[in-house]
């Protein structure tokens, strides 16, 4: 795997619109900045190798290396990635109540991790109206403030870099699959630095099929309603096919077919629905509001979940086989679409987009087949 510098990152990813604004490169140096959901490089840097390039989930990702590092074996390319077990879960009685997007599993785990000192800071995503706001928090009670789905790309990982800068060395991170991929690479010392220390202690991945481009989504919504009245948003499980925007006095349903053109181009080539590189991954529970689907991947994740159950922060139940089948189907579908989009882009016949994501040779198709 070739690790290049910021110029290559700009040429290969930013200029090709493949950036998903995960925030991994923001704050590493004075040049990568984010404004209104878009990452920009303000000045060129002539270093030939950079963490910016190494961490980016959209440059070539060496899945075999990640899998060897975290699971001691080559990458298999299965629908859900490596995991120990899959369960249904929700926040337990010890956890202060939401409102949560679903079962509150993420908030429960992060609250406990802070409480036990397993992590010394948590990187989460708060929101200011529609704008996702990355947060670096250290107090348990701040966790719940960040509980809600944003659906728009958030440069949350910029707060990991901020946390490292401020001296935190056991950081917990909640993020989307692309962000978990970036975090996994942050943990790997890809640049072989002698004084490298893994600053990340615990990660919770969120299921994700796509994220919206903040700017075009804001323009889209401004044409339909007063943005300041929005309380929350939700995409109910299939077959609803709508985004529900809840305002103070009514719910507005927007067909997903209207929303899909606003999806980030970088998402169309993402093969990961369930955040395969997190300690645990959390998503909705199809057909059972108030519950989550929980994938326990690493040993650390399993210890954490067991502790949470013991301490009354989490309630865990079995996930029915049909739900698991649907989950696998969904995750497989995302991998398939990503593969097709990459093939289309590579063949240069992407008719859906006027500007196709120019996938570089760095993209190893085999990596996630």
């Amino acid at each position: 795997m070739q690790i290049s510098g910021s110029n290559e990152l700009v040429e290969q990813i930013l200029k090709n619109d493949l950036c998903v604004a995960c925030g991994a490169c923001v704050g590493l140096c004075p040049y990568f900045k984010v404004y209104r959901g878009k990452v920009a490089m303000t000045f060129p840097c002539d270093l030939t190798q950079g963490r910016c390039y190494a961490y980016c989930p959209k440059t070539e990702v060496d899945y075999d290396n990640l899998s060897q590092t975290f699971y001691g074996k080559p990458y298999q390319g299965s629908a859900l990635g490596e995991y120990r077990r899959i369960a249904a879960s929700r926040a337990g009685d010890k956890m202060i109540s939401g409102p949560f997007q679903n079962g509150g599993t993420v908030s429960a785990l992060m609250t406990l991790a802070l409480k036990t000192g397993m992590i010394d800071a948590a990187v989460l995503t708060d929101s200011d109206g529609l704008i996702p706001v990355p947060r670096l928090i250290t107090k348990e009670e701040e966790v719940v403030q960040c509980a809600s789905a944003k659906y728009v790309a958030s440069p949350t990982l910029s707060c990991v870099n901020k946390g490292v800068e401020e001296g935190y060395d056991r950081i917990g991170v909640v993020g989307t699959p692309c962000q978990m991929t970036a975090v996994a690479q942050m943990k790997c010392n890809l640049l072989d630095k002698a004084d490298f220390k893994d600053p990340i202690a615990f990660t919770v991945g969120l299921f994700c099929t796509w994220a919206l481009d903040f700017r075009t989504f804001v323009d889209f919504l401004s044409d339909r309603l007063d943005l300041s009245t929005i309380c929350s948003m939700d995409i109910p499980p299939p077959p609803a096919e709508v985004l529900i925007v809840k305002t103070a006095d009514k719910d507005i349903e927007i067909p997903l077919s209207d929303i899909r053109p606003l999806v980030l181009k970088g998402c169309s080539v993402c093969p990961d629905m369930t955040a395969e590189w997190a300690d645990v991954s959390v998503g909705a529970y199809e057909g059972k509001p108030g519950w989550n689907t929980l994938i326990i991947r690493s040993e650390k994740g399993e210890v954490m979940v067991d502790e949470a159950v013991k301490e009354g922060f989490l309630i865990v139940d079995e996930l029915p086989a049909l739900n698991l089948a649907h989950l696998i189907q969904g995750a497989d579908g995302k991998k398939r679409r990503a593969r097709e989009n990459i093939e289309k882009a590579a063949a240069g016949n992407d008719s859906e987009r006027n500007k196709q994501p120019a996938v570089t040779e760095n993209w190893k198709m085999s990596s996630f087949q």
Partner: protein, 645 residues
């Protein structure tokens, strides 16, 4: 220092060309002088502005060159002697009025003094004023040395009164800014009175109305006056032939090229083979003199800078005179002997003469020349054109650049003439993407701002200086507001016409002579025009960038951001540090900082240097102005500022 307005008749003084011109005007009894600052012309007005009050001069830095010409014209109409001073581009600004003025004729002696800049040493083009003399059909005088600069200026007023029209006295950088000995003449004693006669016979040039109509009548009169000037030029002492009676080659030249020519001829020892006709009156050419001199030889070389103005006029005469003087072989710009662009110098002229005379000449041994060139490239440190240490423009463009990059919609800045023109270069983070004449940044932006109907979505900014704002931005701003053009105008207000030497402008409380003057408030003007206005200190990055982001997000109409901070070189600020700056070398991470030397690679204030021995940044205390700005750019916070008590 010579006191320019002292009598001193017959004494010799070392004067800059521009001072010699000012002295010439004083000896002519000039009453009114107006101009707009522009290198290399500025010292003429500033010299006159310092003339003691008992001389009863009126001197002003006008809002722009057209207004300056109009102010000078009024004095002429009232019977006074007056002058308008500007750089070559300024003639373009004044051109509309000039064409009317040459048509209406004038009364008191009036001259226009454009100072051209061959080689564009202080300009962004090599524009010429000489062809304006032909266009306006007025006499053109070109002094060839410092004494002539004074003497011809004085004579130009007399000529103007003789023909009752404007006369152009043209200088160039190497005359205006070099110095030489000048013998003073007498200063006039009488104090002229101003009165405008306007109720005489309508066609009376001295008592009727001053207009250019009826056009064919007045235009005809103007040509009679031109004929009169040709007569005068035939015997002018400023047209001098030196050399043998029948030279092998005749050189016709004017202005400072005469000095280069004489040096070249001298170095090559060609005094006995080459004749030189130095012309002081270059348009219209005196045909009898030209016939006499051109008749001496078959080969003619015309030496002048930039456009072949003299060459073409000589060739027209030569073809008319061909039956009398025969067919000539010409050398000059049109046959490629001399370049069409850039300044001339003695070496260039030597190389032309060597070719014509098939001579061998080496100014230095070629091995030496080669070595000198190699060492010059290797040993001379590379120096950027750069904003001064502590320049507010660097801070302004830092914010503009960062905001446009972060906004990430490929926004750009349209600019024009001022120190801030340097923002086309790395010192201004290459922010300027168009740069044209005074005020054009906002005019061009106004046009870009209407291209949304053709799918253009890029944010559009313009920048202008405070003096430029009054000079020519206001009409463009009115245009943009009236047409709802979606643009953001950034006024880089550094409280003076900084680039040309802090001449005052209408935004300041002082005029050219140092008198108290009512100032016009830029913010109030912009608001009255209908723009949304914010003001910020460019040294405050956070405030400036927030203001700029806010204005960019507002997609309706014209926004103005005034960035106010006095120029670092201004008399008020010079040698006064706000902060004592230092780099904490423990905190500067040097090469291991992720910033890759942001301070000295990107921000590049000359006051910040890279210390190779320590591998850290360092403050160059000799040139640091203590503005404190760089303390805000270091990602490690290693640059410290301490307020100076």
């Amino acid at each position: 220092m010579t006191r320019i307005a002292d009598d001193h008749k017959g004494t010799s003084h070392l004067l800059m060309g521009n001072e010699a011109i000012a002295r010439g005007a004083l000896e002519a009894g000039v009453s009114v002088a107006a101009g707009y600052p522009g290198t290399p012309s500025s010292e003429i007005i500033s010299t006159l502005a310092k003339v003691p009050k008992e001389h009863n001069l009126y001197v002003e830095w006008s809002t722009n060159e057209k207004v300056a010409m109009e102010v000078a014209a009024a004095a002429s109409f009232a019977g006074l002697r007056s002058m308008c001073v500007l750089k070559q581009n300024g003639v373009n600004v004044a051109a509309d009025f000039l064409l009317h003025l040459s048509g209406s004729g004038t009364r008191g002696g009036i001259i226009i003094v454009p100072c051209d800049d061959p080689g564009a040493l202080s300009s962004i083009n090599e524009g010429e004023s000489r062809h304006f003399a032909r266009l306006l059909e007025i006499p053109l005088l070109e002094p060839g040395n410092f004494q002539e600069a004074k003497d011809m200026t004085k004579w130009a007023f007399e000529l103007s009164e003789e023909i009752r029209n404007l006369v152009m006295v043209r200088s160039v950088t190497r005359l205006s800014h070099a110095s030489g000995n000048v013998i003073f003449g007498e200063l006039p004693k009488e104090a002229p009175r101003a009165f405008f006669k306007h109720d005489g016979f309508i066609l009376d040039p001295m008592e009727g109305i001053v207009v250019s109509v009826p056009v064919s009548y007045r235009h005809g009169q103007q040509h009679e006056k031109l004929k009169k000037s040709i007569e005068i030029f035939e015997t002018s002492p400023f047209n001098i032939y030196t050399g043998p009676d029948n030279p092998e080659l005749l050189i016709i030249t004017a202005s400072v090229c005469d000095l280069y020519t004489r040096e070249a001829v001298h170095i090559l020892g060609l005094q006995d083979r080459v004749g030189v006709l130095k012309l002081g009156t270059t348009w219209p050419l005196p045909p009898k003199l030209m016939e006499k001199v051109m008749g001496r030889t078959d080969k003619i070389l015309i030496i002048e800078e930039v456009i072949p103005f003299l060459e073409e006029n000589v060739k027209i005469l030569a073809s008319e005179l061909a039956p009398k003087i025969g067919i000539k072989t010409f050398f000059g710009k049109r046959d490629g002997s001399l370049p069409m662009a850039g300044e001339l110098n003695p070496d260039l002229i030597i190389s032309v003469l060597v070719k014509i005379f098939s001579m061998r000449y080496e100014s230095m041994p070629s091995s030496y020349a080669e070595k000198a060139e190699t060492y010059a490239l290797k040993a001379a440190p590379a120096r950027d054109l750069t904003f001064c240490p502590g320049c507010p423009h660097r801070a302004s463009f830092w914010s503009i650049h960062n905001v446009l990059k972060m906004d990430n919609q490929e926004g750009f800045v349209c600019g024009d003439i001022g120190c801030y023109s340097l923002a086309t270069l790395p010192t201004g983070f290459m922010s300027l993407k168009t740069m044209h004449s005074m005020g054009s940044g906002t005019g061009v932006a106004s046009g870009f701002g209407k291209l949304d109907q053709f799918g253009m979505e890029q944010p559009i900014l313009s920048v202008c200086g405070d003096s430029t704002f009054f000079h020519s931005v206001m009409p463009a701003l009115v245009n943009a507001v009236h047409h709802k053009s979606n643009i953001t105008v950034v006024v880089l207000d550094n409280s003076g016409t900084a680039m040309t030497g802090f001449q005052p402008h209408p935004g300041l409380k002082v005029d050219a002579r140092g008198n108290e003057a009512p100032n016009i408030d830029i913010q109030a003007v912009c608001e009255a025009i209908g723009a949304k206005v914010k003001t910020s200190d460019p040294f405050d990055f956070d405030g400036t960038q927030k203001a700029l982001f806010d204005l960019l997000e507002d997609k309706e109409g014209v926004k103005v951001l005034i960035l106010k901070q006095i120029c670092a070189l201004s008399p008020e600020k010079k040698e006064k540090k706000m902060f004592e700056m230092s780099v904490n070398i423990e905190e500067c991470l040097g090469q291991s900082c992720g910033c890759n030397r942001l301070c000295t690679r990107i921000f590049r204030c000359p006051g910040l240097v890279w210390d190779k021995d320590n591998q850290t940044a360092r403050i160059d205390e000799a040139i640091c102005t203590g503005c404190g700005v760089c303390a805000n750019i270091c990602p490690s916070g290693a640059i410290k500022k301490e307020e100076v008590a």
